[in-house]
Amino acid sequence: VVAHSAAGKLQGLADDRIWYEVAYVAGVTHALNTVADGLRLPLEFSDSSRSPILALPVTPENARPVFDEIMAFYAMDHPPAVFRWMARDVGFLKAYWVAIREAFADRQLDRPMKETLALAASMTAKSDWGVDFHLREARRLGLSDQALTETVEVVQLFNTVTKIADALQLQPDFDPCSTRTPTDRPGS
C-alpha cells in the first residue's frame, strides 16, 4: 500500500482526496462482497447456482423508495440481493446505501474508475459476487475491452508482488508520510 500510494502520488495523484476516495471504495466494496458471498447470495448477472443460506426478506413497504433509487443507480430492474438482505433493517439500509452512493459518486475520481477499482478489489478478494457485479457495472459505464485487459494484468501483477512482499515481510521503501522521502537508500 505504501509503495503504490507513493508511486501514484509521484504520477500526479497528489491530492489526498483521491486516496480517501480509493479507501472508501475499498471499504464498502469489501463489505458488500463479504455479506453477499458470506450469505451465498446469487450472482446478479451471471448464471449462478447459489441459493441464499438465509431467506431474503419480503420487501418492506418503507424500503421501496430506497430500492427505487438503488435500481436507478445500477440501471437494474430489481434491487441487488445484497440490498434486499439489508432491508431486514430498513434504517440501516437507508443509511448504508447513502454511504455507498457517495463513495461511488463522481468526485476526484469518476464513477467508471471507481467501478474498475471495485472490480480489482473483488478479484483480489476472490469474491464471485463482487466480480460479477462490478464487472457489469464497469462495462456498463464504459470500460473498454482493452481497459479490462489492462486492469486484469495490473491485478495479476500486484497480486504477485504483494505476496512476494508479504512472504519476505518487506518493509516499505517510502516514508508513509511523504511522497518524496524514501526511507531506505541502499547504495547511497
Binding site: 500500500v1 505504501v2 509503495a3 503504490h4 500510494s5 508511486a7 501514484g8 509521484l10 504520477q11 500526479g12 495523484l13 483521491i18 480509493v22 479507501a23 471504495v25 475499498a26 469489501h30 475520481l109 474508475m113 474498475t116 477499482l117 480489482a120 478489489a121 483480489t124 478478494a125 473498454s144 482493452q146 481497459a147 489492462e150 486492469t151 494484468e153 495490473v154 491485478v155 501483477l157 500486484f158 497480486n159 504477485t160 508482488v161 504483494t162 505476496k163 512476494i164 512482499a165 508479504d166 512472504a167 519476505l168 515481510q169 518487506l170 518493509q171 516499505p172 521503501d173 516514508d175 508513509p176 508520510c177 524514501p182 526511507t183 531506505d184 537508500r185 541502499p186 547504495g187 547511497s188
Partner: protein
C-alpha cells in the same frame, strides 16, 4: 509523543539515541542501521502507552526475513535495469521489490518486462494503474 521524548527515554530503554525519527504523527519511530550489504536498513518501532499514558519501551515492528540484495550486488545488466526503474518511478533509490525480483535474474527480468508492458499508459493511464495496484495491496493487507 515526540522524537525528542523518545530520544530522552532511549537510554532508559537501552536503545541508541541517535538517528531516531518519526514516521507518522503518533507512535511510530524509525531507526536507520547498517545492513549486511553495506547499505542502510530501516527499522520501525512502535511505542505503546501504559495506563498512565507513559511510553513503554518500543517494540520492534515486523522485520524482513531475508537480506535484501543491494543494487551493487546485481549483474551490470540488472543494475542498468535498476537505473531505468528509478527513472520510471522518478525516485532516487532502487525499490526493494526491484532488488528482490532481480535476485534471481531469470525471474526478475521477465517479470520486469511484463510489468513495464502492463503499467505503461494505454487505455488506462499509469496513474490509474497505480490506483488499481493500491487497491490490490489494500485488499491483500500488504503494508509494503
Amino acid at each position: 509523543l515526540t522524537v525528542a521524548h523518545a530520544n530522552q527515554k532511549a537510554s532508559t530503554w537501552g536503545m541508541a539515541r541517535s538517528r531516531w525519527r518519526a514516521i507518522g504523527p503518533l507512535k511510530r519511530l524509525a531507526q536507520e542501521v547498517p545492513d549486511r550489504g553495506g547499505g542502510t536498513i530501516h527499522r520501525c518501532y512502535t511505542l505503546y502507552l501504559d495506563a498512565r499514558g507513559n511510553a513503554t519501551p518500543p517494540r520492534r515492528d515486523t522485520v524482513e526475513t531475508v537480506h535484501v540484495t543491494d543494487a551493487r550486488e546485481l549483474a551490470p545488466e540488472d543494475q542498468r535495469f535498476c537505473e531505468a526503474t528509478k527513472a520510471w518511478f522518478n525516485i532516487d533509490f532502487v525499490p526493494k521489490m526491484s532488488r528482490v525480483l532481480l535476485t534471481v535474474p531469470e525471474f526478475g527480468r521477465s517479470y520486469g518486462r511484463a510489468s513495464r508492458r502492463a503499467m505503461a499508459d494505454g487505455a488506462l493511464s499509469r496513474a490509474q494503474k497505480e490506483l488499481i495496484a493500491t487497491m490490490v495491496s489494500a485488499i491483500n493487507v500488504c503494508e509494503y
